[in-house]
């Protein structure tokens, strides 16, 4: 699908590309082998019970191949309360001063200036701006940000050891046990979504709460949002909520010209938002 068509508001949706990065394939092989190894172990002990305990699954099993996760933010609904930021911090033990998700406030002034702020990532929401008078403002809105789980993610491309990878279900994840903490991916992400976690010494960012969604639970931020601004879902499922939203609204992605093909879509996106 061309950019033109997308901008023109056609109803077709981005399909997962056929090409799967080498990393994910290798990883899959690894999974297969480990699964085979585990199967061997299971016959020796009662590990299967243990596994069933620690990995509750959707309807009995979670098959990454069957999903292609995406995220939709309805900018018309966000009220900038910061509940998502707090929920994410709590859920994922995000260290102080770093953010897997944050909320920005855009303030447009009559003189043409556009002011943006995000005090402490909007962890405590927003106070009215002290530096502008209400009568100077033409419009204002909030923009939640998170990892775009780019289909062609530059962060995965640059990781020298393959610790950043794309999972078969379309999420960009980091193998914390393999990352060397070089920070190259932090430089490569055009959206400021990554940071080096000072506690683990490794790269860190939004996982779209993989540990939750793979169990059929909502992401922490989606669950916390009081206004229904955040939605996650399976782009492969024609009946999913994200599909429905994208099929019925005009949307955009951030920095489309960089060719990263983000999978976080914004309904009601303004061109000033980058």
């Amino acid at each position: 699908m061309s950019e033109e068509e997308k901008k023109g508001g056609t109803l077709s949706l981005p399909e997962p590309s056929e090409k799967k990065p080498g990393g994910s394939l290798a990883r899959r092989d690894l999974l297969k082998y480990s699964a085979a190894g585990l199967a061997g172990l299971v016959t020796l002990g009662k590990i299967d019970d243990l596994l069933a305990e620690s990995y509750p699954t959707i309807g009995g099993s979670y098959h990454p191949d069957e999903h292609w996760w995406g995220f939709v933010v309805d900018l018309r609904k966000c009220i900038g309360c910061g509940a998502c930021v707090r929920a994410c911090k709590e859920e994922n033990s995000v260290p102080d001063g770093f953010f897997r998700t944050w909320v920005e406030r855009y303030t447009f002034l009559k003189d043409g200036r556009v002011l943006v702020d995000s005090p402490d990532g909007a962890l405590e929401g927003f106070e009215p701006r002290a530096d502008v008078k209400p009568e100077e403002v033409t419009k204002s809105f909030f923009v939640p940000k998170l990892c775009n789980h780019c289909e062609q993610s530059p962060c995965v491309q640059v990781c020298p050891v393959g610790a950043s990878y794309q999972s078969p279900d379309g999420l960009v994840l980091i193998d914390k046990t393999h990352c060397i903490g070089c920070g190259y991916c932090v430089q490569a992400c055009p959206y400021g979504c990554r940071y080096l976690n000072p506690v683990t010494g490794t790269a860190d960012k939004c996982t779209m709460c993989y540990h939750r969604i793979s169990k059929g639970l909502k992401t922490a931020c989606v669950e916390a949002c009081p206004h229904g601004a955040r939605h996650y879902g399976d782009l492969k499922d024609p009946n999913s909520e994200v599909r429905r939203l994208l099929n019925t609204s005009r949307y955009g992605v951030l920095k489309p010209d960089l060719g990263t093909h983000p999978k976080c879509f914004y309904i009601g996106l303004d061109e000033e938002v980058v």
């Binding site: 943006v116 060397i180 490569a188 992400c189 940071y195």
Partner: protein, 410 residues
């Protein structure tokens, strides 16, 4: 008056308030630049037959190795999980430009170690023969117990060394050009993302390599009260002049082309240059450390001043150009991180002093290769015996035999 800039201006993505790549990542390309530059100087003699560079060719080669051994140190100090550094060699990702580091580094290391050994072998054999006891064993070990020196072995050593020197040129260019590519290929960052980055890094590497050799050559000659080899520094000075012109031209071209195109990125970059980087880029890198040495070296080349004045001009140009290149590294590495990817704001970086990635550790990391050089010079002469510095070494060694002679200056 320099403008006073608040620490954060405009809107910076919250994760970008912390600058990820610190002064260690400034030092890393600086040291690899010295490696590549020093190697190129030795090749100018070994391959391109610049006879006047003979007095410094061997020293250049060993310096290159000394810097090379410590080049990965700043990287290690920077890594969040240094104990996993070998993952780069074990599981390199084929899509990553950085993954090539291990392979390129090791290839170059092997080439330089063998070339250094071959170049110094004859001297080691002679030293082993003229010593007794422990010193003899020490030098014999250095020769790997192969002490035959005749016309045949000499010709063979020379041939292999020449081959390695030739092979080393593209590898050295690659080693350093690749560092430029690491930055130039980051499309997220408009201050880095230019194909010119590869070439600029390479040329600035050569400039810094020549400059450090000029600096050391003068320094050692003055310390040992040995007359300066004018032919040698003359050649070095003209190469320094030539390479710095091309280097600075390309550096300016890069900025001028963005400025002239007036792209969307130009507005934030202009602010970056004129405010956040005004001192380190405009004042230090361009005016003080490019323009001044350019004028000095031009005057030296064209007006042919008296020896004393010429020495002052060349030496101070070398020092200024060493500062030019490190400030260029700073302005690229740190500068690129000061501009937020929101293109709406700027952060500030102040290096720590005593922490793992602080200034004190950085200074130590930078000085260690020089200390290593000093020790190597204590063991074997880094200058040919028929040059003033080589003769000084032989005199010193003769006075102290059979003990291992002390490093220079003592």
């Amino acid at each position: 008056m320099l403008p006073v800039v608040p620490s954060v201006i405009g809107y910076v993505f919250p994760n970008e308030l912390h600058v990820t790549w610190t002064v260690m990542i400034v030092l890393y390309p600086y040291i690899t630049g010295l490696v590549a530059g020093a190697f190129i100087v030795s090749s100018l003699y070994h391959i391109f037959g610049r006879e006047s560079l003979r007095p410094i060719a061997r020293f250049a080669l060993v310096s290159s190795l000394a810097f090379l051994l410590f080049a990965p140190l700043p990287l290690l100090l920077h890594l969040g999980r240094p104990e996993r550094a070998f993952n780069i060699l074990i599981t390199p990702s084929k899509t990553s430009a950085m993954a090539g580091f291990g392979i390129i580094y090791l290839t170059y290391l092997v080439i330089v170690v063998i070339e250094v050994w071959l170049t110094l072998r004859e001297d080691m054999v002679h030293l082993a023969e003229s010593r007794t006891g422990f010193a003899r064993l020490f030098y014999r070990t250095l020769t790997l117990f192969d002490t035959t020196i005749d016309e045949k072995t000499k010709a063979f050593d020379h041939k292999v060394a020449k081959f390695l020197a030739a092979l080393g040129i593209p590898v050295a260019c690659f080693l350093h050009g690749y560092v430029g590519f690491l930055f130039g290929s980051i499309k997220a960052n408009p201050w880095w993302s230019t194909p010119l980055m590869f070439v600029i890094f390479l040329l600035s590497a050569i400039v810094s390599g020549i400059a450090v050799l000029v600096f050391l050559f003068y320094f050692v000659s003055w310390l040992r009260k040995v007359p300066i080899d004018r032919a040698c520094v003359g050649t070095l000075a003209s190469f320094l002049w030539g390479f710095m012109i091309v280097d600075v031209t390309l550096e300016l071209l890069e900025v001028l082309s963005i400025a002239y195109q007036q792209t969307r990125e130009w507005e934030p970059l202009q602010f970056l240059i004129l405010h956040k980087l005004f001192f380190t880029y405009v004042v230090v890198q361009l005016l003080l450390c490019s323009l001044v040495p350019f004028l000095f070296l031009a005057f030296n080349a064209i007006a042919k001043p008296r020896e004393k004045l010429s020495n002052v001009l060349v030496f101070s140009s070398a020092v200024l150009l060493l500062v030019q290149v490190i400030s260029m590294r700073w302005n690229v590495v740190i500068g690129g991180q000061l501009l937020s990817k929101s293109f709406r704001g700027y952060t500030t970086y102040v290096p720590g002093l005593w922490n793992k990635e602080g200034l004190v550790v950085a200074a130590v990391v930078f000085i260690v290769p020089f200390i290593l050089l000093r020790f190597v010079d204590g063991v074997i002469s880094l200058f040919p015996a028929d040059t003033p510095l080589g003769a000084w070494w032989a005199r010193r060694a003769a006075g102290k035999t059979p003990a291992v002679p002390a490093p220079f200056g003592t």
